[in-house]
Each structure stands twice: as C-alpha cells, then as structure tokens.
Symmetry: C2
C-alpha cells in the first residue's frame, strides 16, 4: 500500500502542529504503508517572503519570485523530516527537483511535464518516509519554478499518479466535502464519496476544498483522492473517485460563490460577429468569462450579460469601455453584489426535474433569479448576494431536507 | 575586470541595508566590471531556522540541517536579485548547485571539490550580475551540503579562484585589517596590505576578520583578497596577497585570543610514549591542541602543559581524568582565565630581535608570561586575561609606537 499525503500551511503553522502532523504520518507508516508526503510552506511563510520581495521591488521578475517563494516549502520538508526522525521513524526531504518534478518554464504558474520517480522509489525501498516540497519543480534550464495557487495539491496528485499510489490523502482544515457549507446550512451532511466531475463543479463553484487543477489531474490519471482533516485524521473524509454506476443521488452538493460580478452590454447591434468581438477582447486580456446570457434580438439590437471573477471586473470594464466604438453598445451595466449558487450532482443528467425543483424552491422563498446556467451535472443561478445564504439553505432543503 | 564580492549577514539584515548593498554592487557593475556576488543569509535567519529545528528535534540529522539552513542563503540571493533589478541592472540568482559548486558529503562541514563555472560564465556573458548563494553546495547524491562556519567566505574565494577573478572583495562590518583591535588600541593603524600567511596567523589568533579556510584557499589559488566595509565601500580596505619582496615591516599586527584554556598534567612519568598517549587521546576526541610546553624531566617525572579552545576544555578534562591510570600523572591543573596575545609579521623570520622586544615590553609593564610559542611569522604568549588588554597595548606600542 502506497499512500501520498498532502498537508497545507495551516496544518504546519507551528512546532506543535508540526509534531501533530508528524504523528499522523508516522502512524500511517507504522501500519505498514509506504508514505510519500507533500508539504506546503508553514503558515504565513509565503506571504511574508512575498512582502519582503515587494518591499525591495514592486515588480520582481517571476524567475526570482519562484526562487524566493519555493524556499517556504523547502523549509517545511526539512523541518518535518526532523520532526519525524524525533518520532523515531526514518525520513528524507526532497525538493521538487530532487523528487524529479520537471515543469515547463512558465514561472509562477508552471505546469508539470514529467516526474522522474527514480529517487523517490529508491528512498521508499529503504523504507524512508519521503517528504516532497509541494508547489515547486524545475524547468529545463535547471531553474526552480512554482505551480501557482494551490500548487501543492497539484504536486501531491502528480506524485501519486507518477508513483501509481493507491490513495492520495489531502489533509485540510475541513474533514470532507459537504452537501453545503455547514456554516450556512447547519444540517449539511458530509459525503462519503463523490465523482471527480462533481468535485470539479463544486470546487469551481466556491466550495473551497480542492483546487480544480488537482482534481482534473486526479481524474485524468484516475488517482483516488481523499479529503480529510489533519485535526481528526482517524475520521474518514470524502473519497473523490470515478464511479461507474452513478448512484441514485441526484444532487450531491450545493455551493455558493461570492467571487463573481456581472457585466451587461446593452443594445448591441444584432449582427454576426459582435459576441465574438466582445469575448475575444476579453480573452486577449486573459479574463475568464463564466456564465453568458444573450437576449433574443429586438429592434435590431440585443443585450449580452456575462459574469467574470470579481478580481477581473475592473480590467473587463476598462477593456470594454475602451472599445465601446468598435463593439458598438449603448450602455455598460455592472452588478458586483451578486452570488452564484449551484446544485451539483452526477445523477442530474438522468433527472430532468432537478432544475425545476431548484427554481421552485427559490421562487417559494421569494428569491429572484438573475441568470441561469446549466451543464450535465449542475444548475447554477445568479442571485443578489444578500439572498445567497438563504438560497443555499432552501435549495439544500429541497434536495436533502 | 572580473570582481567577486561577498557580503555577510549583517550587511543584509533589512530592506534598507539590502538596497544599500544593491547600490554598492550596481556601482561596481556600472564602472564596467563583471560582477559575481556571494551572499550569506540575512541577519539572524540562520539562527532562527536552527532554533526551529532544535525545537522539533534536539539532534536533527545533518543532511536535513543542511537542507534547512541553506534556505537562508537561497532567500538572500533571490531578494538581492530583485533589489538589483529595482535599481535598473540585470541580475540572476544561482543556488550553490546552479553555480556548479560540488562538495564532498560531509554534511554541515563539507569541502568544495570542484566548481563547474559554465552557468556562471554564461550569465556573465549576458552581462548579468550573478548572485551566488554562499555556504552551500551539492554532493554527488544531489543533496545540498553546507560548508560550516564562515562558509560564505570560502564560497566567495572558491568562486573567485574558479573564475580566475581579478579580485575577491570581502565586505564586512570592519573596513580592513588593523595592527591591533582598535577597541583595545585606539592608535591602531589599518594595514594597506598583508600577506596570506600573516592574515592566517591573525585570523587564527582571534582577529575576527576572515576565516582561516578562506584565506588558505585564497593563498593556494593566489586570489587577491580585499577586506573592506559595506558601510564605506569607497574607502580602500586591506589587500591580502602574496608579496614577493617582504617589506621592511617586522610586525604587521598584534592579536588577542580569549578563547583559550590551559591544562597542565603534573608529574608524568618521564619515559617515551607518554606525550604521544596524551595527545592521541585528545586527537581521537577531535580536540585541537594549540601551544604545548613540556618541562625538562626531574626525579623521573615531567610536567606537560598545553592549551585548547575554551569550548573543548570540559571534554579535554574528562578524557584525561578518565585515563588518569593509563597516562599516569599525579595532578591535573586547569587555567581558564587566560588569553593568548600574539605579534604577527612576515618580516619576523629575518629579525631575531622581535621576540625579545616583545618580552621586554611585557616585563616593563609587569605582565607575567605563562607560556611562549613561536613560529616563523609570529610570537605568542599566554598571559592572565585581566592583563591581556594591557599586553596588546604595550606590544603594539613597542612595534608601532
């Protein structure tokens, strides 16, 4: 049995937590498993290093930023190796490079290209607990790269895939994936299992458990992924895996995402190519557009509304305003006080009533739906942010109540 | 002109000092020189990392300690690259491994075996300022090693030797090598030049400017070494180099070392092999013995006195006491309140009167000499610690007054 475990920064914040994590690791090892551990930087280390950098240079080169920030993870693995040795088990720390993680050269947002597992395997054969620095790799110029936000999750899944691990355990500060955020819906239930696709929808919809990139990779390489808490390591978490027979469950969870804003272009000319112009302008600025809604044409004009991540709102507004003439619209409306609420479930595709049931629940609660978006495994609606908690609750009640 | 500069941790302690050092570096670069810079860890970083380690494991493995502590230098070079870029010059940071520094596998005290300069030369050809992490290298297993105390000085000299640099500038918090410690002898003068051998004697005698190892390496590869202050970079420091014609100066400096203790074995049997037994016992414990004095035998017994570093005193005492029977002595006397005061000068070998002049000066001041040791370029005496400041002053007065 080969297990890859990943611990985030908050699980490593101080010596006491480090020792606690060391115990969780050595307990796994003592049960006979081969253990590879991927670690993030401790607590606020990354933020502190970044602040130091910006104090010296408001626009540091991305190569040097990678060289700097990767030190946080390198420190974590060496300290954890010491904590594990103090607990009486053999351990060895490996940087991304030593673990054989090759990436492309997109500094601060690199993609893993290949993992040469030779060194990791050699250490595992010696029955060492192998501690791998998350978030980092090395490009073909022998320079350190980092994988961007949530990079340690990606490292963990990639290492698990490369080693053919039986399980990749992602230890976080929540003990699994819930049918809704328990802070909003106290009756929310923890899911024992969930498919990769459902997890992808839930992650992108603001259920902040796993990053999309790591789930996509887990899906591609069929790595079973468990989300569980480092504070209660013996409580089973949620297992993310491919399920051949979709269960009877129509909806597996309700998610809410506040990180969204809506833009509406009013009275666009209703002719071919207008939408293409708008969205290619945004794409050129690397602004990700989420839900798009286009009205039926009337009086030779139409309206296009779409949502973007809240962070991109200002840039999107700029780009559109600058190109007002070229695009040809009469007004740009902005709504930034909105939320996206979604019901996700692999069973949905065979249950056409899901969307209707969701809309009814919202309607009964007097919550106005601003936009709707659906896919095979989710239904998302845009509502006023002040209604969003209530929306999550009534939808959850409709499916799980 | 290729210059290697080395900056210690106190010159890098905060953003303000980092910016100041960045300016010293870019000024050198703008004058047209190719510049390679070797950096230590910032301020107390190394101590802080070490404290974290010891909190988790009082006896951490040396491999992991190297992996951990080397991060301090890696952080320095990335930050300095950013500071230099902010000052408008191109820079690139290279870890010990990236700079091609191969060492043996003695973790925490590794020796440099080879430097592959290919990457550094390539970056210099692009007119990059090359920032190399001091103190660290990599062994043949691809694991990070560190070079021990003062390792960054060693890195700097080794890099200068490998690149055939015209000059290796060691920026410290003193602006050169003085004829005596200016805190003890206010009239002490800064030396414009000094030979490697003189510097070696002064360094080992407690003039804390350069580590022996780096001076030895500079001598072996004939690297001109300048000691100067990062606070007054335009004031010429002291140049350490080989001088073919030894100048007229008999004595180049007076040093004082408080880090010493004397042990005396009283009434040893006066037969062959006794001294060998004593010193091989100490050598086995890796205790370095400095001055040795053996009395002339009397009544079939003799006394042996010797000095060791203050840190080794307890272990030396233990070893000797445990082996009292085997060695055969009647009493072990300890003096730990002593200092070694030395006059150093390459001109001494041709001037037999130096020792006499030194002893006369001490005698006139009523200072008792406990032990004497001489070499071709130095005379050292052991005196009570309370007399040591006065001893430095009267000797300095005798030669430089």
């Amino acid at each position: 049995m080969l297990v890859v475990q990943k611990y985030g920064g908050s699980s490593l914040a101080d010596s006491e937590r480090m020792r606690h994590v060391a115990k969780v690791i050595t307990d796994t090892y003592k049960r006979g498993a081969d253990v590879v551990v991927v670690l993030s930087a401790q607590g606020d280390t990354t933020d502190e290093l970044e602040a130091k950098a910006l104090e010296l240079n408001p626009k540091p080169s991305r190569r040097e930023m990678d060289a700097l920030l990767s030190c946080g993870e390198s420190i974590s693995i060496a300290l954890m190796a010491m904590a594990i040795e103090a607990a009486g088990c053999p351990a060895i720390s490996l940087t991304g490079r030593q673990a054989g993680i090759s990436t492309d050269s997109s500094h601060t947002n690199a993609r893993i290209k290949r993992i040469d597992t030779e060194r990791m395997r050699r250490e595992l054969e010696k029955r060492h607990i192998v501690l791998v620095a998350g978030f980092q790799g090395v490009n073909r110029f022998d320079d350190v790269t980092t994988l961007g936000r949530g990079g340690s999750n990606t490292s963990a899944v990639a290492v698990a895939a490369a080693l053919g691990a039986d399980l990749c355990q992602n230890f976080t500060d929540v003990d699994g994936v819930y049918t809704a955020d328990p802070r909003i819906v106290p009756s929310a239930r923890k899911l024992a299992e969930i498919t990769y696709d459902e997890m992808l929808e839930l992650a992108s919809l603001g259920a902040n458990v796993l990053q999309n990139r790591s789930v996509e990779m887990a899906k591609r390489f069929n790595v079973p992924l468990e989300v569980l808490s480092s504070f209660t390591p013996d409580v089973p978490g949620t297992l993310v895996k491919e399920m051949l027979t979709v269960e009877n469950i129509q909806v597996s969870g309700v998610a809410r995402d506040n990180n969204t804003a809506r833009l509406s272009l009013v009275r666009l000319q209703d002719k071919p190519g207008v939408a293409a112009k708008v969205f290619s302008l945004l794409a050129r600025e690397k602004i990700n557009v989420d839900i798009i809604l286009q009205s039926i044409g009337r009086d030779d004009t139409k309206d296009i509304s779409f949502t973007v991540g809240a962070k991109c709102l200002d840039r999107a507004r700029e780009v559109l305003t600058e190109n007002r003439e070229a695009i040809g619209f009469s007004e740009l409306l902005i709504a930034d006080n909105i939320s996206k609420v979604s019901a996700v479930g692999a069973g949905m595709v065979n249950n056409p009533g899901v969307a209707a049931r969701m809309f009814e629940a919202l309607s009964a609660a007097g919550i106005n739906i601003q936009m709707i978006s659906t896919s095979e495994i989710k239904v998302s609606v845009l509502v006023d942010r002040e209604d969003s908690d209530r929306a999550v609750r009534v939808i959850h009640e409709a499916f799980f109540g």
